[in-house]
């Protein structure tokens, strides 16, 4: 297997994958808790909720996550990209500790350590499984160049 190294731009996309999903979820959660309880009998209030600032930012971040996730899957293996999504939980936990000054239990610190070690294992390996290239593909690549 050849060692596929990532460009700085690809590392940036993986960072967006890790950051956008948890930050988007946090924005949605913050936005929804600030609203009065919404009943399914009033779907209009649910639509109106989409246009409140926190929820709009949350949706934009989740769209950003999905776009960067799809981009990452186009040049890296699923088993390489998925740990990056899990690393987002670590970022949120660290933000809550050092920015919001929340207390983190020993169990959560252990979780952070395990995820960090796991992501480190994957990041040190190749990002994509090497496959023999069909003859047609190499001709197409030459035509593109």
């Amino acid at each position: 297997m050849a060692h596929h190294t990532l460009s700085p731009r690809q590392y940036l996309i993986l960072a967006l994958v890790a950051l956008c999903a948890p930050l988007g979820d946090t924005c949605l959660s913050r936005g929804m808790t600030h609203l009065s309880p919404i009943s399914l009998a009033q779907p209009g209030s649910l639509v109106a909720a989409v246009f409140t600032p926190w929820i709009a930012v949350g949706i934009a971040l989740l769209i950003g996550f999905f776009a960067s996730y799809l981009t990452a899957l186009s040049w890296a293996d699923l088993t390489f990209v998925l740990p990056a999504t899990a690393f987002g939980n670590v970022i949120v936990a660290l933000l809550s500790r050092f920015w919001l000054h929340e207390t983190i239990s020993i169990q959560r610190w252990l979780g952070i350590a395990l995820i960090t070690i796991g992501v480190g294992f994957v990041a040190n390996g190749p990002s994509l499984t090497e496959r023999p290239q069909p003859a047609g593909d190499s001709i197409r690549e030459e035509q593109l160049q």
Partner: protein, 136 residues
């Protein structure tokens, strides 16, 4: 008379396991189909360099596998909502999030023929336990 919120009785072990299995199965199917779609489309950065952002979006939106993947990811989302209606978040979220990592590694090896070596298995198990600790 005061109205109390109606809560569903806690499901038995096998019902709870079935609900979590439904989330894991649909989520894994969705992830694998989406990954297969993106591999069949090719490197989006190269496509965007040649055909622009519109070309990259068109390449994704004209791939049937992508929509199959999104369908199963949406099914996983609704399965999660259904499970949350019957079980506690502290059980459903960590169990489904962590086990999905392991099932994805197995599915990626079987269906996407990814080289899931010892390094990636170790990482999947570490991250799986880590997510469980973090979310529990």
């Amino acid at each position: 008379m005061t109205l109390l919120p109606v809560t569903a009785p806690h499901p038995g072990f096998w019902t709870a396991a079935g609900m979590i299995a439904a989330i894991i199965l649909s989520s894994t199917t969705g992830e694998v189909l989406t990954a297969a779609a993106m591999k069949s489309i090719g490197d989006l950065d190269i496509i965007r360099a040649h055909s622009g952002l519109k070309g990259a979006i068109r390449a994704v939106l004209t791939c049937p596998l992508f929509f199959a993947g999104v369908f199963f990811l949406a099914t996983a989302f609704f399965a999660l909502l259904f499970a949350l209606n019957h079980m506690d978040l502290s059980l459903v979220a960590p169990a489904s999030a962590s086990l999905t990592l392991v099932t994805n590694a197995i599915a990626a090896k079987l269906f996407l023929h990814e080289n899931v070596d010892r390094r990636r298995w170790t990482a999947a198990v570490f991250v799986c336990i880590g997510v469980y600790f973090l979310a529990h």
